[in-house]
């Protein structure tokens, strides 16, 4: 039984990959998991591995070729196996790759629209016959979002919740009223059977690991803000808040630490990362994702840090940054930057950030505005630290000032909300002892 | 020899009988035409040939007596005094019909004439007649109810149950079997184990008689005795009135059909009840050719008037669909109204 080697989606956003090198050649025996090729994705160079044991019977794509996800690249099978059927099918596929590769993300919408109007007969539904398999799998993939009680659908609609994102606790995973109520209060009931979960139990569930976020339904005013401002400025109505922070105490801290020895040296950037992570933990409204029909506020801080590479920008993530010591943040930031530059980041290392920081201070940029990395709602742009003349209590003096600009998605974050975060950040940076408070 | 001078009261009565029977005939002839033109729909069962039964029977009743009949009810309705207009409008399905157009040919009702309806289920109305008899007895008084049905109905359980109770409880009910020989297309000999079917009353020890249904006077005579019995003794009677249907069972049935011969029909046509009465009156000098022609013209005009009236009457508005399914009253309301 021949197994196809196809272009796999090696990053969350990858639609096409370039086959950089074949690691094996035709006729080689391979085992499941053996690296067959290196593939350049939109983010990194990844390894493509064998999905079966056997002999690499055929390589169909020469090195350097870009191919859409799903393209047949080669065939693994038993030695001497007739693979002509597979290959002839592949020709058809190659001739019309788009039909062979249904864009997975589009399918749920099709299902939804088909499900919305029960009066449209199946034949008239806007789904090509060839898509039926995709439809079925899409339904399965979404956890059977069609299985929701009518009440649950209505409540979800009223609350502005996307029912596809809610796990059902009824029979066969049916989403029922209690699941919507749970989603509204930030609790996910996965296996709960009792329809009358006590508030104590709900409390317990709320503190369970792995669910450290809550979805905030959009209020009418929030919906209006989102709509009106998006009409004003692009799809993400961004505004900017700039502040100058006095780094005097950070400098003192660096000096004091440096006196303890090389092992204890900290950079301004390390302090900033620590301060941002700590401040974000206090401002989940900023540590949030815009999900179209709701805002997801995260309790955990997964801090993205923009890294420039020769190929372009990539944003590796320091997970649970709010829980990490400055020393660990410092080390992890350096490691990630190195991997990024070497294009060794794995997809899981550059996805999932809840907030990002971009630092162009080393380039001598006084201040700049960074572009939000959706679905995040804000990003912090760090400029260079420079000595400035200040007047304090009537006396003229100097101090080192760091100019920081926060870009905010106005759909989720209002000016005052961003400003409060910037205020917290100021307290952290201007009084670094707050970081250990 | 000079003709004996007729009794004026008798002459007037005979003219009324003739008029009643001829009206039914002229009315139903136009019904056939209206049916052919699509003005009457559904089932339509003509009574032509049996007019002496309706006229003979109902001419013996008082207005406060009751009448209930089958789906072949146009003749009895006219003989009972319902207006030709209200009946034709009912047949046309119009709002001025005697049941507002909701009943149709088979369901003519008129409370003002104590005409308790044409009923469409063979035998189904016979127990109802018994119930009316029960109510008469319950309230006291000397009313009676006449219940018409065909000879085919006597084989059905409802007839026996109803007849038994009427005899058992001594109720003033007159059951008139209009024996026109055919239950739809099945001859009586093919449906009943006995052929003198009035004898069935013997099972219930009920008064009974058989009479020539083409002779209106003979019908009046036996019905008169039955009415008297009901009024004075409160007991029921079963009358077999032998008649003949000159038309098919319904409009979809050929006049002679497969179940009877043209020769048989021709034989009975010689005993047309209207012709027999007219002949008798002419022989007695009670009506001249001119008077006969004038009467016929008058009745034809009356039927034409009914037709025009029905044609002009509107159908009920759509909102009437849900009217008269239930009444929105209780005995409290009725009592209040009575007070």
């Amino acid at each position: 039984m021949a197994t196809k080697v196809t272009m796999e989606a090696l990053s969350p956003t990858m639609e096409e990959g370039r086959l950089v090198t074949w690691s094996r050649k035709e006729g080689d025996a391979v085992k499941t998991g053996d690296v067959l090729a290196e593939v350049e994705t939109d983010k990194a160079i990844m390894e493509l591995v064998a999905r079966a044991d056997g002999v690499l019977l055929k390589l169909l794509v020469p090195e350097g070729t870009a191919a859409p996800v799903g393209t047949l690249l080669g065939v693994i099978g038993a030695a001497g196996e007739d693979i002509s059927v597979v290959l002839s099918a592949a020709k058809d596929l190659l001739a019309a790759p788009t039909t062979a590769v249904p864009a997975p993300t589009a399918k749920p919408d099709v299902v939804l629209s088909a499900a919305k109007d029960p009066l449209v007969p199946p034949a008239a539904a806007p789904v090509a016959p060839g898509d039926k398999q995709a439809l079925r799998s899409a339904q399965g993939d979404t956890g059977g979002f069609n299985r929701a009680s009518p009440l649950a659908r209505r409540l979800a609609g009223d609350a502005g919740l996307d029912i596809r994102t809610i796990a059902g606790s009824g029979p066969g995973g049916r989403i029922i009223k209690r699941d919507i109520e749970a989603a509204m209060s930030g609790v996910v009931l996965s296996e709960a059977k009792d329809p009358l979960v006590s508030s104590v139990e709900k409390q317990a569930l709320r503190s369970a690991p792995g669910d450290n976020y809550r979805d905030i339904p959009l209020t009418q005013i929030r919906k209006t803000i989102a709509k009106r401002l998006a009409e004003s400025i692009g799809p993400i109505p961004t505004f900017y808040l700039t502040a100058g922070y006095d780094l005097s105490k950070v400098m003192e801290l660096r000096r004091a630490m440096a006196e303890l020895g090389d092992d204890f040296k900290v950079s301004v950037n390390d302090v900033i990362l620590k301060a941002v992570a700590t401040a974000l933990a206090q401002h989940p409204e900023v540590n949030s994702h815009w999900l179209g029909d709701r805002i997801r506020q995260h309790d955990r801080v997964h801090l993205g840090m923009a890294v420039a590479t020769d190929d372009g920008l990539i944003v590796p993530v320091i997970f649970d940054a709010h829980l990490k010591r400055m020393k660990d943040l410092s080390r992890e930031a350096k490691e990630l930057a190195k991997k990024a530059r070497e294009r060794k980041l794995k997809p899981e290392e550059y996805t999932g950030s809840t907030f990002s920081v971009s630092n162009l201070g080393m380039f001598g940029i006084d201040q700049f505005t960074a572009i939000i990395n959706p679905p995040e709602c804000s990003i912090l742009a760090i400029g260079t630290a420079s000595e400035q003349v200040i007047i304090q209590d009537g006396a003229v003096g100097t101090c080192t000032v760091l100019r920081v600009t926060m870009s905010c998605d106005h759909r989720a974050i209002d000016g005052a909300v961003g400003a409060k975060f910037m205020q917290t950040l100021r307290r952290m940076i201007e009084n670094p002892l707050m970081l250990v408070y | 020899m000079a003709k004996k001078k007729a009794d004026p009261a008798s002459v007037a009565l005979n003219r009324e009988l003739l008029r009643s029977m001829l009206l039914q005939r002229r009315f139903e002839e136009r019904c056939a035409e209206a049916y052919a033109l699509g003005k009457i729909g559904g089932f339509c069962h003509l009574y032509i040939g049996q007019e002496a039964v309706s006229t003979g029977t109902l001419s013996m009743l008082r207005p406060d007596d009751y009448v209930i009949t089958t789906y072949r009810d146009h003749g009895q309705a006219l003989a009972r005094g319902l207006s030709a207009r209200s009946i034709m409008a009912e047949l046309f399905g119009r709002s001025d019909g005697c049941a507002r157009g909701k009943g149709g040919s088979m369901h003519l009702f008129d409370k003002a004439h104590n005409f308790l309806g044409g009923h469409g289920i063979v035998g189904g109305h016979i127990p109802i007649a018994t119930g009316v008899g029960f109510a008469i007895k319950y309230r006291g008084g000397d009313q009676c109810i006449v219940c018409f049905f065909g000879e085919a109905a006597i084989n059905n359980g409802a007839f026996h149950e109803a007849a038994n109770m009427a005899a058992l409880w001594k109720l003033p009910v007159i059951y008139i079997i209009e024996n026109n020989r055919y239950g739809m297309g099945t001859a009586i000999e093919r449906a009943s184990s006995i052929h003198d079917i009035y004898e069935r009353a013997g099972s219930y020890d009920m008064a009974r008689d058989v009479v020539d249904g083409q002779d209106v006077f003979a019908v009046r005579d036996v019905v008169g005795r039955a009415v008297e019995r009901a009024r004075t003794q409160g007991t029921p009677t079963l009358l077999e009135v032998r008649t003949y249907r000159f038309m098919g069972h319904s409009m979809s049935d050929a006049v002679s059909g497969t179940y009877r011969t043209k020769a048989e029909l021709d034989q009975y046509l010689k005993r047309d009840p209207i012709m027999l009465l007219r002949q008798r009156m002419q022989d007695a000098g009670e009506i001249s050719e001119d008077e006969m022609a004038a009467l016929d013209a008058e009745l034809k005009a009356l039927v034409q008037d009914a037709w025009d009236f029905a044609d002009a009457s509107p159908e009920l508005p759509l909102e009437a669909l849900y009217e008269d399914v239930l009444v929105d009253t209780t005995s409290d309301a009725a009592d209040a109204a009575a007070r």
Binding site: S149, P150, L151, A152, R154, G170, I176, K177, K193, D194, P195, L196 | Y66, I68, G97, C98, A99, R100, G101, K102, G103, H107, F109, D110, K111, L116, G117, G120, I121, G124, H125, I126, P127, I128, A129, T130, G131, V132, G133, F134, A135, Y138, R139, G157, A158, E161, A162, N164, M165, L168, E323, D324, V325, L326, V327, T329, T330, S331, D332, D335
Partner: protein
């Protein structure tokens, strides 16, 4: 208030209405001399005489028709069927005559008549005597159908039925006749037709039922209460016209419904209730509706099989647990 049996409540209703209105009479098999096959008419012959309490031959079609005829000309008959199983013989009078007379006469002849008797199964009476006919009757426009489940409702609904100017079918229960309960003494105690009653309030699930099954529903609610589940029991009382607003209100409140009936599933009353729910409460349902009913078989005589065929407490509890996702 007096504590009395369902049988005595019916007897009181008959007696009071016979006294109140001399157009009212009772007719049926064994209602007079025998004092009623189930003694519902006990003592009435003695008080009202043989013209108003009338024994009939065994002729359901015949005496049903007698009732129809009497009603057409102004009396107010109460026709007793020894059981509704026998009333099938009278269906022509009920369906073709009583239900349609007003309509096909263009509004001239209304039908102030009551047909009443025990409905449904008792114990081991076998296939022909153990049937619930309410869905047959409630199917017919022109009829009203009531099914009292308690002594008080039996009195109030029968009195309302007798006073109503339309044909009303009163479905009693042989197994109910000995059930005791509080019954208002007043001769003016009348329960309006078409009004359901919440027999027990609850928040977590609704059980919609009527007649004999009301007691089962109340027992089931008690069982569920031990698990902390509050079941609302809605007694329809009148099956036609049905109190749809009451059904909607309870389902909107609890979002879950069990429909309990004595009869068969296919085209049963419950199917109609479910239809009203899906029509009016679709967006309030949190679980599929579950119906509890008799097994889809003629009723067996065999004791254990009969028990298996009937809707009972265990099946009702199980259905309630199912709609609450408890199992």
């Amino acid at each position: 208030m007096a504590i009395m049996t369902y049988r005595d409540a019916l007897n009181a209703a008959l007696r009071e209405e016979l006294r109140r209105d001399d157009r009212v009479f009772l007719m049926g098999e064994e209602v007079a001399v025998y004092q009623g096959a189930y003694k519902v008419s006990k003592g009435l012959l003695q008080e009202f005489g043989e013209m108003r309490i009338v024994d009939t031959p065994i002729t359901e079609l015949g005496f049903a028709g007698v009732g129809v005829g009497a009603a057409m000309v102004g009396l107010r008959p109460i026709i007793e069927f020894m059981t509704w199983n026998f009333a099938l013989l009278a269906l022509d009078q009920i369906v073709n005559a009583a239900a349609k007379m007003l309509y096909m006469s263009g509004g001239q002849y209304n039908m102030p008549i009551v047909f009443r008797g025990p409905n449904g199964a008792a114990l081991q009476l076998g296939a022909q005597h153990s049937q619930a006919w309410e869905s047959w009757l409630a199917h017919i426009p022109g009829l009203k159908v009531v099914a009292p489940g308690t002594p008080a409702d039996a009195k109030g609904l029968l009195k309302a039925a007798i006073r109503d100017d339309n044909p009303v079918m009163v479905l009693e229960g042989e197994m109910l006749y000995n059930v005791k309960g509080e019954v208002p003494d007043s001769s003016d105690f009348v329960i309006p037709l078409g009004k359901a009653e919440v027999k027990r309030a609850g928040t977590d699930a609704s059980i919609i039922t009527y007649g004999k099954m009301v007691n089962i529903a109340l027992q089931a609610a008690e069982v569920l209460a031990k698990d902390g589940v509050q079941v609302e029991v809605l007694d329809l009382r009148t099956l036609r016209p049905m109190d749809v607003p009451a059904i909607v209100a309870t389902v909107m409140k609890t979002n879950r419904a069990v429909v309990l009936e004595e009869g068969w599933e296919v085209c049963g009353m419950g199917a109609q209730v479910v239809d009203y729910i899906q029509r009016e409460c679709f967006d309030s349902l949190d679980a599929p509706i579950v119906r509890v009913h008799q097994a889809d078989t003629p009723m067996p005589y065999t004791k254990s099989l009969e028990k298996a065929a009937k809707p009972d407490l265990a099946k009702t509890v199980s259905a309630l647990r199912a709609v609450c996702y408890l199992d």
